[in-house]
Symmetry: C2
Amino acid sequence: MRPTIKDIAERAGVSKTTVSFALNDPGRISEETCRRVMSIVAELGYVPDPVARTLTTKRLGAIGLLFPQPIHEALSNPYLCELIRGIGEVCEEKGLALTMLPPLRGGLVESARRAAVDALLTVGVGPGTGVADLLRRRHMPFVTIDGAESDSTVNVGIDDEAAAWLLMDHLLGLGHRRIAILALRPEVSIEPEERFSLVRDRRLAGFGRALAKAGLDLESPGISVVSVVGSIEGGAEAARTIMAAEGERPTAILAMSDAAALGTLDACHALGIAVPGELSVAGFDDIPLAVLSEPPLTTVHQPGREKGSSAASLALAILEGREATHIRFPASLVVRGSTASPRSPGPDLR
Amino acid sequence: MRPTIKDIAERAGVSKTTVSFALNDPGRISEETCRRVMSIVAELGYVPDPVARTLTTKRLGAIGLLFPQPIHEALSNPYLCELIRGIGEVCEEKGLALTMLPPLRGGLVESARRAAVDALLTVGVGPGTGVADLLRRRHMPFVTIDGAESDSTVNVGIDDEAAAWLLMDHLLGLGHRRIAILALRPEVSIEPEERFSLVRDRRLAGFGRALAKAGLDLESPGISVVSVVGSIEGGAEAARTIMAAEGERPTAILAMSDAAALGTLDACHALGIAVPGELSVAGFDDIPLAVLSEPPLTTVHQPGREKGSSAASLALAILEGREATHIRFPASLVVRGSTASPRSPGPDLR
DNA sequence: CTGTTAGCGCCTTCAG
DNA sequence: CTGAAGGCGCTAACAG
């Protein structure tokens, strides 16, 4: 059996308290006693149990990130990686560990219930859902990222509707009228009640509003919406399907994530489709890789790192009883090489 | 104050035991009682405290990953991401959370001391070091990844020396004699005693052995070794420096990580240096992006995902008291488009 | 300066 | 079927 503080105390002929002081606040006991205690600690190789300690200190030294997909899937999404990196910066600063909390067997609510962390961040999880309720019941400080703003929950995000509008408007302005939209696929692995597609919906709304200006809408012929997972492979797969379908090909593919856009680009390379010559491709997020692709990606920039670090800071603020309020970051259109006017304005161009 | 099991018990007029049963083992009490208890639980919004529960169950439901760099830096390394994804697969399967443990203020040993997890994996951490000692004292099941094999520690890795040999031999075979090596930079942010560069050393040894066959060594003129961080940016920076230096340029850059190689590729694009025409570039790891680059990367394949998942499985095996032994995965050379013979075999070619 | 005494919140024998 | 009692390992008042 592993030695406990009690063993040390007995062996050293002092009380548990004294041992505790020797370890955490040496100034409060005599040097002599401290030395003796510490030698026993070393001899027995005693290490205090972090969990037991937590029971009284109420601090585990970890912050949690709850997301609606398995870990291996989350990390295949570069945008999420950026978010996590941002959170990591705060962890570094505060000396905290970061616990990734994927949906458990019992679902996301179960994960929230079991999470052993000091504060929690959620991505793609709605408020007013079981998760938020549970977290509140646990008195767990939490912040949503890309969630909905409500007065009972602090959120970090961007104006997705406006950002989407920017992107669609750009494409429309170039003359595109046959556009395939690769939308974020709602997570199917979690409880339907916890499913949450606010970002997707808002972006679609933004696209719709831009289309309206051109006399189109999401249902118009030529405009299509397909759901894909936010990874390179997901985008590549969708692009292959779209470009292989019969009928007139789209002149542009507009993805709701750079990862999917990058996958599209890759599929085009393989298929020998020239970008932006034959097909324009645009993404969303402006991940670091977006600059490096061939051609570099036109996309909507949003500050992933900062979103992560702000969310983490806010959660810690709540934990410490400080004020915390929503943050809405600006997003902007970044035009790079992957979009251009459609080569031959077809007859369907008005 | 948050309700505890005691509050529920009192309110329901039963003992804490009964409440506990209602929650964890309903079959043991009457339906009637159970119903009553549960209604109070719902009414008060009671959620058992995971930490308190851990104290007796000895299971936190999390596995830890200890690494020697800050989280934001770790996640900028695609190889580490792959490793983590592999661990994530096991977490998914077993219903576990994954806690990332960066070095704390007190250093890596402090992180190991404080880690609130059921089992631990380490990357780039040596055995026989303070970390391993501490973990053993804590009776914490742990597995090292890319560490040293010893009979007291189970490790998951590849034969780095042989793998490196393969790569250097390939370059030498193509005729390269002026080669810049981008070596893994030992982590400087942690305690010197915990610093560990076995992988780096072994790969250098492999390179050296290959060079010897060509009558060269790591000190030969034309051969240079620089240390870089394992990220795209790190590689790009190094490449810019190398290609800008006066004197004859190398005909090949050999990186110890694909990330650095990709960065090199990117820098070459920017500088207008043709790959592999003017410069051959090779990496290490065979990360998913390696196929997608322009040109696709020649590299040494090693199974990052599998290393992660095996390490996790082994750690859990130890936790459950099952047998666990080292795993050494095979590595292989993957020749793609980024390497070729040097265009003009200079006079220094023997 | 040091020890005693209570908890922290939960689970789990062991009786009844 | 249910309750009482004890313990998990540690910290924190509060006395001496």
